[in-house]
Symmetry: C2
Subunit: 223 residues, 2 copies
């Protein structure tokens, strides 16, 4: 049977980028459908009726929702090309642990901590930014001297984590600071990931992300 793979996505979403990277790493031919999140398609509402969020992977008519779930699913079905999760159960458990850490640090998502920065300013923004950098430093310590979270090769945690790199520029300009001075090894790791076509093509232009953030802040009446 010919495989029919559709990705419902939104260009600026770090969650969507995870699915894009995994699809590219595995060389899976698919149709990419950009969703207007202000006016979601009937297909999206039907395929992810519980959360109504992107990304959704539709494989031969059946939906798989939630970004890390999609990456694991792709890794299981297309397991031969570019395996992302280790086969050893202990290492697999460790990878799941860190991917989960990226998603939430005791109920505070890394992405959430990041997102809140856009809707605050002054001291409140500064304190959120410090918290966010604290999470990044924990991840940097876990990376240690390895080239990737996956060890010698890019793996599940790398795919989960690297999308936020496309938002770094927007944070830096808004907050007038440099991630490199706080987390040099993590920035070097992100640049290493960006040398993979699968990553560089999945991540949007950081300038466009910054414009998006500016528009978002204007719409929220913050600037």
């Amino acid at each position: 049977m010919a495989e029919e793979v559709i990705l419902l996505d939104s260009w600026v979403s770090p969650f969507g980028m995870r699915a894009r990277i995994a699809l590219a790493e595995k060389g899976i031919k698919h149709e990419h459908r950009e969703e207007d999140l202000g006016n979601k398609s009937d297909l999206l509402l039907k395929m992810n009726s519980i959360h109504k969020t992107i990304p959704v992977l539709i494989h031969n008519g059946k939906p798989v929702c939630e970004s890390n779930n999609i990456v694991q699913y792709l890794d299981e079905v297309w397991h031969d090309k570019s395996p992302l999760l280790p086969s050893d159960p202990y290492l697999k458990g460790q990878a799941r642990f860190w991917a989960d850490f990226v998603d939430r640090k005791n109920n505070l998502q890394v992405f959430d901590a990041g997102r809140k920065v856009w809707v605050t300013k002054g001291e409140e923004q500064k304190s959120l930014m410090e918290e966010f950098i604290g999470h990044l430093k924990t991840l940097e310590a876990e990376l240690g001297d390895e080239p990737y979270f996956g060890g010698e090769k890019m793996g599940y945690v790398d795919v989960t984590m690297v999308p936020i790199y496309s938002w770094f520029h927007a944070y830096e300009v808004s907050g007038n600071f440099s991630f490199e001075s706080h987390c040099p090894k993590l920035v070097a790791w992100a640049k290493r990931c960006m040398q993979h076509d699968s990553v560089s093509k999945a991540l949007p232009d950081p300038e466009k992300v910054y414009e998006y953030v500016l528009q978002l802040r204007k719409r929220l009446g913050i600037e």
Copy 2:
């Protein structure tokens, strides 16, 4: 090599119960260590230095943290006895999706929604309770007419979800209502799970949970 398995746990924790059920389902001999969460052991702080939470499974000296991660790990290492996750990648993805739903509904954890109920009262408590019941109804709809979330047999989502049943009594007495009238199928499902020794032995006496909640509310100055 003889397997050394230790579980760092706390009797009232629904997260700990997940690990207990999975260990029992698979008949894994292990040492159970009850943690005093007000005075955590050095072993716990060392083995889960990132989150410092129970449960932690220590298998031959190596820690596995986070309850659903532990259940998946146990299922992978002891895969022959009582498999919990389906082997089909699509069904596995569905199980992960629903286990994730139990943990967080768009950042609002089912357990969190539940927990907040204990620190509020009056209208605020009522509205949180309605939200909590809303999540339970979504899960009930997913269960449909199957005996278990895992289909004919108890599986991963069942293990993730059933621990909260031991807290139902405390909710009901505090809120003066009945889960059975709101979610009769879900309550019937929980009773079905309780017929398994693995579940009935892992879940504490609902009266003791209620006493624990009363003490908690007193300590917080709510009653």
